[in-house]
């Protein structure tokens, strides 16, 4: 079987019942017709409608099971009167009909309760659950009528259909770490900050960090945007973490860590960055031992030595790191550079190995006469290492020794380049220039408005539509750069606009330092040649993006070494999934996903957020809270944290804007 028998998903209405197969209409949505592997779905039902894939579907049981899932969904609900009792009544009445004991009055009651739930429920889960049930009662009414009129059970009542449900939200779905965002926001709203933190840590151990320096893709999928402005999701995350730190509370875990299994199974993790820490944490919560091998004397990976103190104070990040490293099941060796030989030894000794060594080689800018050994040529990663090791750990020497009163040119456009230029300002550089191939709008999209705006305020000069053609030196040091200028020429055929060099617009910049921050590559010397690890076309380690196993059995990869230079939250999401897969792999040697993970992937493919949806039941025009920042004069010559975070009042007002867009979806297989 294949194809969609019936669907009311979103704005689509498909009814192929009784039509010859060549007249069947197809859906524009990526609905989960196949559940997993060769297992087909019979139906998919969720917040936005219902899709039937099997003509023999038992619509009555489907409806009652959906109500049951909602009824049992204990985390989100029980928080409002219509949801709490309405959900129970929905299920009781639907099950009564499915059992063969229902009446037509029950149908009327169902409609009445549904209306109240849809109008007055607190969160979207209560408002949306009745929708597909009403659809089924309307379009499959003959099945309901048969049960009632003949007082007989529905056609496959208590049969062998499996119903697998998953709760999500648009923001949660969009977050690479699938953080239960509405729950941590609710913790702030309820002022039970420990609940907020516990919700975050279910899937995100780095709450301080991702409450400060996450590029928050979730905010692009915030339904509040359809009404006015998205919730300031990221900043609300640090409230719970700060609470734990401020009150010196014992570590708050999403659940009590399970006792050490002590069964001889152990996992090796290469790198103590976000990916390595995350994997170690979720393995440890399950009682599985892991050992981390870290090249640097300090922990935290690129976030520690790459992200500057003024954006991510090490005192706060260290809390996230300590949370993980203080787990009984986690151990670590520092100053331990893993090379190909060492990796072979590790792999032989451990039951599984996770690579999380990041991407820490600065790529070249690809200009004429580019010589990384030339004085004044300084890769962004090594420059930031120096800055951060000194300011955060007093290791090495201050970078102001090199940069004070110098002219610094950085080529970039992403977060790393922003860190380079803003650190250069703080190290006392005389002049700091950022060259970027594209325009202001793009740099803002690649980073954040705040990041760009703050850099400008601090005195960084941005030259857009520019690229270095040639580097000049005096044999010892770089002296000047020849820079080309470009313009964006629209494609007359409506395609993507092209960057075209403007002839005669070249200019020169005299400078002392050139810091390339265009991108980073991974250091592949760690991978033994004979393993022939498969790589992606952009030379990162290849996995299927679902279980994160590499082409070598038992070797997993997550974070930047898997994806290429990406975000912290991406590394966290990948590593958590990898840890879950590893926790089973080390016992049965198989790479498997849980139902919850399969559903997570289905929903992600389907896309939860609908930017065209009209929001009802909320007051528009309530402004998004923006936290206070240090003034430019208070921050540009030091490493004080720039973002002061929300006041309590702002945090709560912001949390109250959250519409709790929980959705429940279910597949029948």
């Amino acid at each position: 079987m294949s194809g969609i028998v019936f669907s009311t998903w979103r704005d689509e209405f498909i009814d192929n019942r009784g039509k010859p197969s060549d007249e069947w209409v197809e859906s524009g949505f990526k609905l989960p017709e196949t559940y997993h592997g060769d297992k087909n779905s019979k139906a998919f039902i969720g917040w936005d409608g219902v899709a039937i894939f099997d003509e023999d579907i038992d619509a009555v049981e489907l409806a009652s099971q959906y109500a049951a899932q909602y009824q049992e969904y204990s985390e989100a609900c029980g928080r409002c009167a219509p949801g709490r009792w309405g959900g129970r009544i929905l299920y009781d009445l639907l099950d009564k009909i499915a059992r063969g004991e229902g009446t037509h009055d029950d149908i009327a009651h169902l409609k009445e309760i549904s209306k109240t739930m849809m109008t007055t429920s607190k969160c979207e889960i209560g408002k949306t659950v009745p929708k597909p049930i009403l659809d089924l009662m309307e379009y499959y009414n003959e099945q309901f009528n048969t049960c009632i009129d003949q007082q007989m059970p529905s056609k496959h009542y208590n049969g062998d259909t499996n119903y697998i449900a998953k709760v999500t939200a648009p923001c949660t779905d969009m977050c690479p770490a699938h953080v239960d965002i509405p729950a941590y926001i609710e913790g702030v709203r309820d002022m039970i900050f420990t609940d907020s933190l516990a919700a975050t840590r279910q899937t995100m151990p780095l709450a301080h960090t991702c409450g400060r320096v996450c590029p928050h893709p979730c905010e692009d999928a915030c339904r509040r945007m359809n009404l006015d402005e998205p919730i300031s999701i990221m900043e609300l995350k640090r409230i719970g973490a700060d609470y734990e730190t401020d009150h010196e509370l014992p570590w708050l875990h999403p659940h009590e860590p399970k006792p050490l299994r002590n069964d001889g199974k152990k996992v090796a993790i290469i790198g103590a960055g976000p990916a390595g820490l995350t994997a170690a944490y979720y393995l440890a919560l399950e009682g599985i031992e892991s050992h981390i091998f870290e090249e640097l004397p300090v922990n935290g990976g690129e976030v520690a030595v790459g992200v500057p103190e003024y954006r991510m104070p090490i005192g706060k990040y260290q809390k996230d790191i300590d949370l993980v490293l203080e787990m009984e099941a986690v151990s670590i060796t520092n100053n331990c550079r893993v090379d190909a030989q060492k990796l072979k030894e590790i792999e032989a000794e451990y039951d599984a190995t996770l690579l999380g060594f990041g991407a820490r080689l600065s790529k070249k800018v690809r200009a004429e006469n580019e010589n990384p050994k030339m004085g004044g040529y300084w890769g962004a990663i090594s420059m930031l290492d120096k800055v951060n090791l000194w300011h955060k750990y007093q290791i090495g020497a201050p970078a102001s020794n090199e940069l004070k009163d110098k002219v610094v040119v950085c080529v970039g456009g992403g977060f790393t380049s922003m860190d380079v230029v803003r650190c250069s300002i703080r190290e006392g550089a005389k002049k700091v220039i950022m060259l970027y191939r594209r325009d202001e709008k793009t740099i803002i999209r690649n980073t954040t408005y705040e990041e760009y705006h703050e850099a400008v305020e601090e005195g960084v000069e941005f030259i857009f539509h520019s690229a270095i053609e040639e580097i000049f030196d005096d044999g010892e040091n770089i002296t000047k750069l020849k820079v080309n200028r470009f313009e964006l020429v629209p494609d007359p055929d409506g395609g993507r606009a092209q960057l075209v060099k403007i002839e005669g617009a070249d200019f020169e910049i005299e400078c002392d330092y050139l810091i390339p921050a265009v991108s980073q590559a991974l250091d592949t010397q760690i991978l033994p040649d004979e393993w022939n690890i498969e790589m992606t076309s952009w030379n990162s380690i290849l996995t299927n993006g679902k279980d994160y196993m590499t082409s070598r059995e038992g070797l997993f990869a997550a974070g930047d070494c898997e994806y290429g230079p990406m975000t912290i939250v991406n590394a966290v999401g990948q590593a958590r999934r990898a840890a879950s897969v590893i926790s089973r792999y080390i016992y049965d040697g198989k790479c498997t996903l849980t139902d919850d993970e399969i559903m997570e992937d289905h929903l992600n493919k389907l896309r939860v957020y609908d930017k065209k949806e009209k929001i009802t039941g909320w007051m528009p025009g309530l402004p998004r809270a923006v936290s206070e920042k240090l003034d430019v004069d208070e921050r540009k010559d030091n490493n004080k944290e720039v973002n002061l975070g929300f006041t309590g009042e702002e945090a709560i007002a912001e949390a109250e804007r959250c519409m709790r867009c929980y959705y429940i979806s279910m597949v029948a297989v």
């Binding site: 909602y70 009824q71 049992e72 969904y73 204990s74 609900c77 029980g78 928080r79 409002c80 009167a81 219509p82 949801g83 709490r84 009792w85 959900g87 129970r88 009544i89 009781d92 309760i113 209306k115 109008t119 007055t120 607190k122 709203r189 309820d190 002022m191 039970i192 409230i239 401020d246 009150h247 010196e248 509370l249 408005y449 705040e450 705006h453 703050e454 305020e457 009209k614 929001i615 009802t616 039941g617 909320w618 007051m619 528009p620 025009g621 309530l622 402004p623 809270a625 923006v626 206070e628 920042k629 240090l630 002061l644 006041t647 309590g648 009042e649 702002e650 945090a651 709560i652 109250e656």
Partner: protein, 752 residues
């Protein structure tokens, strides 16, 4: 766009509600504006004093141009909004919600404690529900007895008010919602503590789910007469009602919508001096005793009017007036005023609750003043306030509120205050004399002597950066301190120059009123008459003296509160004996009733000329308090002369700290049968080791000539070599304790 957007609070807006044009400010919810304008919107879960809960959904309204129904309790009104609070659709949704609330709610109102004052009962009538429209499978969940309160999950409508009160107001954080859809319930996560503050959580319960265990099944609500009054125990003067039938107080309730009452006020009500008749013979002796006495010594458990009568007696017949706690407080405040230029501190509880940073010093505030602690908790919850707690002893009960514990050595309060001044006035402009004083401070030495690290002070300073709204709360450790005057002056600098909202929490009882009304003496001289203090001739409201006096719940009068408010008390129970006014009348200080003195309270101290019977006693519909009146701060001459910091007198070895359990303040709370606290000397393992005491040892010691016989108990939650010595069980003698609250323990064993 890096503009700090503090949500445009306070901007003037105009909205139209049900056709009425309403002026208000941005930041207020639709419901708040409706209530300001006397427009009724029904609610089940709304509680004015906490932030919107939003669980009942009854308050939905319609806004023109906005699709769907809007939750008026939570959604802020925007300028120009046109709002309709009622129409057929809205009514139907509300009615449907009420139908849901009645699902399986046992309609056994006849045997429910809440009957007659139940929101569910009232709204069921209001929305014309004659039958239970829906049913769902019942869940059998037993009633739980949590000590002071009991919880019946079958009656619970999950409005979450109790949880909000426990979190936002009292801060005990005992109650939580256990999520679970239809099976959702409230749980008490700290049952073993039996917090009396849960009485407030029960007070806000709209149905009969969370009730006072003691009151349960004793009376129908409508048979009780409500007598509004003010709580006399801690000096907070919180609003309360005695609920009385046949000359017995059945319970105490309060206006929980807007104000809060702690466990002492709620459960410590049965201390009346009962069965007293007029004993003319003893009364004559009392008159003689006054005539022969040189000194009247009295406790803080007297009203403002009684204090004034005593003052008039002093003026008329030359008696000396001694009241230790009030006198210490009076001297402290006089020194404070010499710097601030006003006779009262500037702080208010409301400003405290709105602070973004709070410093607490010289008080175990959770025990000393629950209402002040609640307001600190509000600041912590609503404003994420930094709370620095400076004290020789850590208090575990404050951990969820405190963000920085700064421990100082016993006796080093002057040094600690000087360090605070140095830290907080660093970048503030102050007159030259004060700057020189600060510059001359030997910080290293002060830091060493007080044991407060300079890095701790730096952390404190940093935590205040970019914040506005600071409060300082100080308490009784400082008032009887040998250097009290100097400490007071130092702290007053923070009010004057650093913009702190300062509250000098008065000692328990009406010490603040006494300190303002009476011209007190330091020492007792000659023959004495005691009022609630043992003396040559003793007047006692406990019934154990020479002549009986009425207890606070048996007399009319006013109290002066920590919030600088003069509040009325009314008679809850009859009293058949003589009162102080009767004695005064025999001594030439004439007035028909005690409350005739209300209007004569000293104007030059900030009191108003207003008859007792004219004192208002209510909250308006949005919670503005109209109880009695606020004292008006009076100007006093400024004399900002600071002394050099005195050498610290070291306190080595085992130390005891006079401190009562949270709901105990005096012999009167001790008499209340619902407040059952054991009076033991509580110390840590370390204290036990230092003193070679074992758990259960009986010891005896003397403080201020008061002899204590105590059992020593080890409290494993405590650390260090300071033990807690309660005084509430010492009867009238407890008022004789007048020294600094910490003292070295010199004891004798009495055997097991």
């Amino acid at each position: 766009m890096s503009i700090h957007n503090s949500i445009n609070k306070g901007k003037a807006i105009t909205v139209t509600i049900d056709g009425k044009v309403c002026q208000s400010t941005f930041g207020k919810t639709i419901l708040e504006i409706a209530r300001e304008n006397d427009i009724y919107v029904p609610t089940m879960c709304y509680l004015t004093k906490v932030l919107p809960i939003g669980s009942c959904r009854m308050c939905v309204v319609e806004v023109e141009g906005v699709d769907g129904m809007i939750l008026s309790c939570q959604e802020k009104a925007t300028d120009g909004a046109v709002i309709h609070t009622n129409n057929a659709d809205i009514y139907e949704e509300r009615q449907n919600i009420m139908k849901l609330y009645n699902v399986n709610h046992p309609l056994e109102c006849g045997v429910c404690d809440k009957s007659g004052e139940c929101d569910l009962q009232n709204k069921t009538m209001e929305f014309g529900l004659e039958a239970q429209a829906f049913t769902a499978r019942d869940q059998h969940r037993p009633v739980e007895n949590w000590g002071h309160v009991s919880y019946d999950p079958a009656l619970c409508i999950m409005c979450e008010k109790c949880v909000r009160v426990s979190t936002e107001i009292t801060g005990d954080e005992a109650l939580k919602v256990k999520f679970g859809g239809y099976g959702s319930t409230i749980i008490n996560t700290k049952q073993e503590k039996n917090y009396a503050s849960l009485g407030e959580a029960a007070a806000v319960c709209p149905v009969g789910a969370l009730v006072s265990t003691d009151f349960k099944y004793t009376s129908n609500a409508w048979e009780l007469t409500k007598i509004p009054s003010s709580c006399p125990h801690c000096g907070g003067g919180c609003q309360m009602n005695y609920e009385v039938k046949h000359d017995r107080i059945y319970r105490v309730t309060n206006n929980f919508e807007f104000s809060t009452l702690c466990g002492a006020g709620r459960y410590g009500f049965d201390y009346a001096n009962e069965g007293v008749t007029k004993d003319t013979e003893t009364f004559a002796k009392a008159i003689d005793a006054f005539k022969n006495a040189q000194t009247v010594i009295f406790s803080s458990q007297v009203s403002n009017e009684e204090a004034l009568i005593l003052q008039k007696l002093k003026e008329k017949i030359g008696l000396k007036l001694v009241s230790h706690e009030a006198r210490a407080y009076q001297k402290f405040m006089q020194a404070y005023a010499s710097v601030s230029g006003k006779n009262l501190y500037n702080g208010t509880l409301k400003a405290l609750s709105e602070s973004s940073a709070v410093i607490v010093m010289g008080t175990r505030i959770n025990d000393d003043s629950p209402t002040v602690k609640y307001h600190i908790n509000m600041a912590s919850k609503w404003h994420r306030a930094r709370v620095a707690y400076m004290h020789p002893l850590e208090d575990k009960e404050m951990q969820n509120i405190v963000t920085q514990f700064i421990k100082y050595e016993v006796g080093s309060e002057e040094g600690a205050a000087a360090l605070l001044v140095d830290t907080l006035l660093k970048e503030v402009e102050v007159p030259q004399a004060i700057r020189s004083f600060i510059d001359d401070l030997d910080i290293g030495n002060l830091s060493a002597e007080s044991n407060i690290g300079e890095e701790e002070l730096e952390l404190l300073r940093k935590s205040l950066i970019k914040k506005t709204g600071f409060s300082l709360v100080v308490g009784s450790d400082l008032y009887a301190h040998p250097r009290a005057a100097q400490i007071a002056k130092l702290l007053a600098l923070l009010e004057v120059y650093a913009g702190f909202n300062v509250i000098c929490v008065p000692p328990a009882g009406n010490a603040m009123g006494i300190s303002l009304i009476c011209d007190l003496n330091d020492e007792v001289e000659g023959k004495t008459v005691g009022y609630n203090v043992p003396a040559d001739f003793t007047l006692s409201a406990l019934g154990d003296g020479d002549l009986d006096m009425p207890a606070m719940n048996q007399q009319e009068g006013t109290l002066t509160t920590v919030d600088k408010r003069v509040v009325p008390m009314h008679v809850a129970l009859p009293y058949g004996g003589y009162v102080l006014n009767d004695i005064a009348n025999c001594l030439g200080v004439n007035a028909e009733y005690t409350i005739d003195y209300t209007k004569a309270l000293p104007k030059d101290k900030g009191f108003e000329t207003i008859e007792f019977d004219s004192l208002p006693d209510y909250f308006d519909s949005v919670g503005n308090e109209y109880r009695g009146y606020l004292l008006k701060s009076q100007k006093v001459p400024v004399k900002r002369a600071l002394d050099d910091i005195a050498e610290l007198e070291g306190f080595d070895g085992a130390i005891i700290y006079n401190c009562n359990p949270t709901e105990q303040f005096s012999a009167f709370t001790a008499k209340s049968k619902l407040l059952k606290d054991e009076a033991a000397l509580l110390g840590s393992q370390q204290f036990a080791a230092a003193t070679k005491l074992q758990d259960g040892d009986n010891i005896t010691y003397v403080l201020d000539d008061v002899k204590f016989n105590r059992v020593f108990k080890i409290d494993t939650s405590m650390k260090g070599t300071i033990a807690l010595n309660p005084t509430f069980d010492m009867g009238l003698s407890s008022s004789l304790l007048s020294s600094y609250r910490f003292s070295r323990l010199e004891f004798e064993r009495m055997g097991k």
